[in-house]
Amino acid sequence: MTLEFLDLRRRYGDVVALDGLSFDVPPGQVFGFLGPNGAGKTTAMRAVFGLVDLDAGSVRWDGAAIGLHERRQFGYMPEERGLYPGMQIQRQLEYMCELHGRTPADAVVATMRWLERLGIADRATNKLESLSLGNQQRVQLAAALAFEPELLILDEPFAGLDPVGIDEVTAILDEQAREGRGVLFSSHQLDLVEDICESVAIIDKGRLVAQGSLEELERQGARRLVVKVEGDRDGAWARGIGGVTISRTEAGESRLVLDDGVDSQALLARAMAAGPVVRFDFERRRLSEVFREAVR
């Protein structure tokens, strides 16, 4: 089942938070939701749960409007988190499970399973506030996952996690997607997004500025070539070639940006003429580059 953002619009006075935002989150994928601060990511995510009154547009689930019944099947982790600091962890998770329509018995089983999975089962009867921030983050994730939602919406789920925690969460999100759930999450950690996402949507000023699979996005734009010619330290062989721009030279490797008409084979011949070619690779754009270009 697909989550659809359809022409979302929301204005706060003079500030435009969402400006006709539209994109789909397919099932069975880890989907990255990117954008600079204030781009409208949190507003869009809150709109899924009816926490924002939209000026126009709608969020749809499986082609239909989302009501409370549907929302109870979605797991949500808000950016500023949100659990009771003074409540026992186990009771808290059971409470969240039951609020999402699980029976008391199911809630108990699911809670213990996730606490064990996240390595905090021994703290089950502790109050949330007694845990470290990282462990509180794990409990928050468990609250979004324990009732086996059909869709996960996570606002900055990696913020505040140590590398071990990041690996844990990454594995869990991957597992959730492989089980067929849609996983939409926002993050500013682009390297991480690049590692775990299949697709991303990038927004800026409330508008969609790029969307697609990572492979598509990284292939888009000008071709990039990395060339190393033995004996040539600063890419002198490539200077003056029409349609070729040297973007960077480092340790004898030149990164070239090729215009559409440039023949790579002719370029290879020019490099070989300059000396032995020890590297001649087409390089994909990094997500960070895609992002910067998109929001420029």
Binding site: A17, T43, F49, L51, E70, E80, P85, G101, T103
Partner: protein, 449 residues
């Protein structure tokens, strides 16, 4: 009396359960409701029920609640026990006798004292003037004049349950019966036995040198009900306020509202805290009655059941009115440090009603101000039960005022629901009333976008 209280409490609890069940049922058919069966056929609890259970459990298990309840119970126990201890030992009735008496009088005076647990001393006064002088000087408590009537320093009201009043009524009754029998020519040797069979005959008159106090046992009831209502409403309102602020400041409300509608979250919270409040209030009354009975306290012995029950009903009505107000102002606050500034305006009408009600306690008839305030929902929970306990209003006036307050509570619930829905997700600063009460008010920008 205790049975009445227990039945009243049970009716309230059953009523809440039935209402909640029907409310949940009505919602089941709509997307806002929750299914009552899981796919496996097991029962799923309704959202309001879950919220109520959480509120009750979390409240009962906190140290603050347990210690607070203990302190209140100790306070109530002290209020019941200390006057008894202070009164000290066996009560004494010093009886003066003026004029001729029959041979039965002295044994009857002594026997009535034994029956009432009162130590009786009898002195012969030389003249009526000397007896009245002794009465005024406090050397005697009661004077039998010419075997015809009793004179006391201050008149005794029908509801006065002090040891002297009880003794005076008792002995006046017995002597009256004995005189009636003697007039019928019954021999003195038979009169003692016959007296007991003639209960209900007219006794001797008891006159007071000064009129009886208006103060009576119900005055004490009114005072207790008033203090209890004010203290508990303030406390429960604060619980609610802090509960709403906690959910907003920790952002847990955002997670909750993803699964529950704002109104149902609010109803669950108000009901949960209300149940804990009702349980605490019942415990306080039960402790007061049990201890009062155990130590034979006049304060509790004279407490009439009806004013107590009416007081508890008004406590519920007061909670029903103020709980929404506290919840609404709680949703305006961003941090716990801001609580004081919004709580004060809500507490003002409570304080006003409380203070004004004290003026009713000392008056023989209700002032115009009290009569008006008894019908205004913010002050009626304090004024009306006091006026009722003092017998200064009729039952239909209590019912009318109760209906007005109940209707106002419904209206307040609607307004509070709107304020709560519009304000609870506004973060970043304290929300003004004017922002959320505007007809076309919209949620403000969230903290992050």
């Amino acid at each position: 009396m205790k049975a009445t209280l227990i039945v009243a409490l049970a009716v309230v609890i059953v009523g809440i359960r039935v209402w909640r069940h029907r409310y949940a049922r009505r919602k089941l058919g709509t997307p806002a409701g929750s299914p009552d069966r899981s796919p496996h056929g097991r029962r799923v609890r309704g959202d309001v029920e879950l919220i109520v259970r959480r509120e009750v459990h979390e409240r009962l298990t906190t140290r603050v609640f347990r210690i607070g309840t203990l302190v209140i119970l100790l306070g109530v126990a002290a209020a019941v026990i200390i006057p008894v201890i202070d009164k000290g030992g066996t009560p004494v009735a010093r009886v003066g006798i003026v004029g001729p008496t029959t041979t039965l009088v002295r044994p009857t005076l002594a026997a009535a004292g034994s029956a009432q647990g009162v130590k009786v001393t009898i002195s012969d006064e030389t003249s009526l003037a000397a007896a009245m002088s002794a009465l005024r000087a406090g050397r005697v408590d009661i004077v039998l004049v010419d075997d015809r009537y009793f004179e006391v320093a201050q008149g005794i009201s029908a509801t006065d349950t002090s040891a002297l009043a009880t003794y005076a009524r008792s002995v006046a009754h017995y002597l009256g019966v004995e005189k009636a029998l003697a007039r019928q020519g019954i021999p003195a040797s038979h009169i003692g036995a016959l007296t007991l069979t003639l209960a209900g005959s007219a006794g001797l008159a008891i006159r007071g040198l000064t009129p009886a106090h208006h103060k009576n046992a119900n005055l004490v009831t009114a005072l207790y009900v008033l203090i209890l209502t004010y203290v508990l409403l303030s406390q429960y309102g604060t619980w609610l306020l802090m509960g709403v602020v906690e959910e907003k400041s920790t952002r847990v409300v955002e997670v909750l509202l993803a699964a529950v509608s704002p109104l149902r979250l609010l109803v669950g919270k108000v009901t949960g805290i209300g149940l804990v409040a009702a349980a605490q209030a019942a415990a306080i009354v039960a402790v007061a009655l049990e201890l009062g009975a155990a130590v034979v306290s006049n304060l509790v012995k004279g407490t009439a059941p009806v004013p107590v029950v009416v007081g508890l009903v008004w406590l519920v009505l007061g909670y029903a009115f103020y709980c929404w107000l506290y919840a609404a102002v709680g949703s305006l606050v961003e941090r716990t440090e801001q609580v004081q500034s919004v709580a004060f305006p809500v507490a003002l009408p409570m304080l006003f009603g409380y203070i004004v009600s004290f003026t009713a306690l000392g008056a023989s008839s209700p002032s115009l101000l009290n009569q008006v305030l008894a019908y205004l929902p913010p002050t009626a929970p304090f004024v009306m039960p006091v006026l009722f306990a003092l017998g200064q209003v009729a039952w239909w006036q209590v019912v009318a005022s109760g209906l007005i307050t109940a209707a106002a509570a419904v209206g307040m619930a609607r307004i509070a629901g709107t304020i709560y829905r519009r304000a609870i997700l506004r973060t970043g600063r304290r929300v003004k009333f004017s922002e959320v009460l505007h007809w076309q008010a919209r949620p403000a920008r969230p903290a992050a976008t």
